[in-house]
């Protein structure tokens, strides 16, 4: 068909020009992004799930002909150890061809490496570690995080319990940084809402007998008992509550969210509450899409709990690099402006510490010997009731 109008001719020309400018696939520059996580050792299942997920983000982008660059994932192993972590962080930071990093699942490693990234000027997005200090312990513009922290976890926990009608709590926490952190953030959020902490007990992480503390708590008559610590003493406390006839609702943190908690307690575990950053894949806004694409690639190993966050971190970095070009400084500046950005884990908005403020937290309750997301449980529709309700 002959081209009739000059307008149409110009448009065709413009399209041709843009086409050549965007360039065919083989002419794209390659941009390197680092992925760092525990690929060996006890946490390797989660690390490999994270790596696969970040890899998936890169592959999906590379398959898209509209992308400006060709991306390459440089995979490094931090072994979940601070010393190994600092080594690979230095390696990634010193390699100028690496523009940004999707970094760390283990909190101890993530918090040990922030200085390194700051010194070497490498923009990073943490994909799994939950310790607040990783983003809040400094003012480095390089460090960001898409997943929530124990601050978000406890905010959700306090809000949720408040909605359920609980107003008074006694707190038992272990005296490690983990337990103390949980106590601090939960208590802060409770008092912000107008609730009351009637007693706080710090206990050692290997304590066996809690009858003295629990007897005191019994006399304080709280509606709920908040426990900030890990499974072993969580089991003991719940068990001994029953022995002393303490009727308060038992509420834990991500630290007790394990099958061993249920195994250790048997039927007594029923109705216990806990909260965790992230969500089962199928509950995430883009979970279905992610799950399908992940399955297509036939990776060995599941994405695990934090895979979607690794995917979202990598995708976010790619998105930013598409906008700014492969320049670390520009990427850092652009990351600072991330606001209400869509991702498979929901909206991402970084505060002035680079922390995602709208992180996903899931509420769990034990029902018939399983941790069930609250919304799917018979407790949420009123068939079963929490204690004192």
């Amino acid at each position: 068909m002959p081209i009739k109008s000059s307008g149409a001719r110009w448009m065709a020309l413009a399209a041709l020009a843009v086409g050549t400018f965007v360039a065919p696939v083989f002419a794209k520059d390659t941009v390197k992004i680092a992925f760092i996580g525990p690929l060996t050792g006890g946490n390797s299942a989660i690390g490999i799930g994270g790596r696969n997920s970040a890899d998936l983000a890169v592959r999906l982008r590379n398959a898209d002909s509209k992308s400006r660059y060709h991306y390459e994932l440089v995979v490094l192993d931090d072994e979940c150890k601070p010393d190994a972590g600092v080594q690979v962080a230095t390696k990634a930071g010193a390699d100028k061809s690496i523009v940004a990093g999707v970094t760390h699942y283990c909190s101890v490693v993530a918090v040990a490496t922030v200085d390194t990234y700051h010194k070497l000027g490498l923009p990073t997005v943490v994909w799994g570690a939950v310790l607040p200090d990783i983003t809040y312990g400094h003012k480095f513009p390089e460090i960001h995080r898409v997943n929530g922290t124990m601050i978000n976890q406890n905010e959700t926990a306090a809000n949720f319990m408040f909605q359920q009608g609980y107003r008074t709590w006694s707190v038992i926490h272990d005296t490690t940084d983990y337990g103390k952190g949980h106590n601090k953030y939960f208590s802060e959020n409770v008092s912000k809402l107008g609730g009351r902490i009637v007693g706080t007990f710090g206990v050692t992480a290997d304590q066996q007998d809690f009858t003295a503390e629990l007897t005191q708590i019994k006399s304080q008559k709280p509606q709920a008992l908040y426990f900030g610590g890990l499974t072993p003493i969580g089991v003991r406390i719940r068990q001994q509550m029953d022995k002393l006839g303490l009727e308060a609702q038992f509420q834990g943190t991500s630290g007790i969210l394990s099958d061993d908690f249920i195994r250790g307690l048997g039927p007594l575990a029923e109705g216990s509450l806990a909260f965790r950053e992230g969500a089962p894949v199928e509950k995430l806004p883009g979970g279905k899409f992610f799950g399908e694409k992940y399955a297509e690639q036939k990776y060995t190993g599941a994405p695990e709990a934090y895979g979607p966050f690794a995917f979202a971190s990598a995708e976010l970095l790619i998105e930013v690099i598409e906008r700014t070009g492969p320049d670390r400084k520009k990427v850092i500046a652009e990351l600072g402006k991330v606001n209400n950005q869509d991702s498979i884990v929901g909206k991402i908005t970084f505060d002035d510490h680079g922390q995602n403020t709208v992180a996903v937290i899931t509420k769990y309750v034990v029902q018939d010997g399983k941790w069930v997301p609250w919304e799917d449980s018979e407790y949420s529709n009123g068939k079963r009731k929490l204690r004192g309700k």
């Binding site: 009858t211 072993p232 022995k243 006839g245």
Partner: protein
């Protein structure tokens, strides 16, 4: 503080004290006859609890009657730990009779680690807390803020009976006399025809069986056992034995209850965080030891066991 609450604290403390006393008695018995510290004793407590759990799991399908099941659990735990105690005495303690006491101490300490780690590694899912079945039922009498549990009463009564029985055994029976003789003076006892080796082995069997009972009692009381529970129990049992006067069985019992009392006071009556209750209890023990270096019921009459 109301009277019910006070009663609850006393009950908690007495339960703890009974467990500590049973462990401490073992330490004192061993020291009495051989002048050695058997540092794996705490882990023998753990071993007893896990042996009891294993026996329960093996028989829970076949045996219906809960009383019989409790008996089987107890006997199984006590018998297996008595054997273990004899093995420790024969294999580790007696051969080192002429070596410095430090060697025995070190050897038993290591044996304890081996025992503890074996439980962790070889018991199914052993690194996690295990549920111990509430074999004595969950009956409870609520009296205001005081909850009196039937199983606690049963445990206390049987612990008391056991200690009373031990007292009678040591003071009234011929074997008890032999144990006392060996403790008093080994050479004289030997020359009077007392079989020294057998008496030592018997003493280790008795002490370890008591530890097994303490372990099962722990399981029935808390309904939870774990591979590391003997670690602190061992330290506390040892401190209690020393506090009462090492080598003296009644001192060990007194020390056990005293330590539990101190812990309860530390957790309840002090304006400190309850995490400091062990700090408080051990600090008081240090002060008491400075005041009476040979223990509260020391060897004033140089009478042992």
């Amino acid at each position: 503080m109301n009277i019910g609450l006070l009663g609850q604290y006393v009950m908690n403390g007495v339960m703890l004290g009974m467990m500590y006393a049973l462990v401490a008695v073992g330490f004192s018995l061993f020291f009495g006859v051989l002048d050695v510290i058997q540092f794996s004793h705490g882990d023998v407590v753990t071993g007893g609890a896990f042996a009891g759990l294993a026996v329960y799991l093996a028989f829970s399908r076949a045996v219906e009657s809960p009383i019989l099941l409790v008996m089987l659990t107890l006997v199984g735990a006590a018998a297996s730990m008595a054997l273990l105690g004899v093995a420790i005495a024969r294999g580790l303690v007696l051969p080192l009779r002429s070596a410095p006491a430090l060697n025995t101490l070190l050897l038993t300490l290591m044996a304890g680690t081996v025992l503890r780690e074996s439980i962790r590694l070889f018991f199914p899912n052993g690194s996690q807390p295990q549920r111990f079945p509430p074999l004595l039922g969950a009956g409870a009498i609520g009296l205001g803020s005081f909850t009196l549990r039937v199983d606690n009463l049963l445990l206390l009564a049987s612990g008391g009976l056991l200690i009373g029985g031990l007292h009678l055994f040591i003071t009234r029976s011929r074997l008890g006399l032999a144990i006392r003789a060996v403790a008093q003076d080994e050479e004289t006892a030997r020359t009077s025809g007392i079989p020294f080796r057998s008496v030592v082995l018997l003493t280790f069997a008795i002490g370890s069986a008591l530890a097994a009972f303490a372990g099962v009692m722990h399981g029935l009381y808390y309904n939870e056992i774990n591979f590391a529970m003997g670690l602190l129990l061992g330290v506390i049992g040892f401190s209690a034995a020393v506090l009462g006067g090492l080598g003296n069985v009644y001192g060990a019992i007194l020390g056990g209850f005293l330590f539990a009392g101190l812990q309860t006071i530390g957790a309840v009556a002090l304006p400190l965080a309850s995490a400091y209750k062990d700090v408080f209890a051990f600090a008081v023990v240090i002060l008491l030891m400075a005041w009476r270096p040979t223990g509260l019921i020391g060897e004033r009459a140089s009478e042992r066991v």
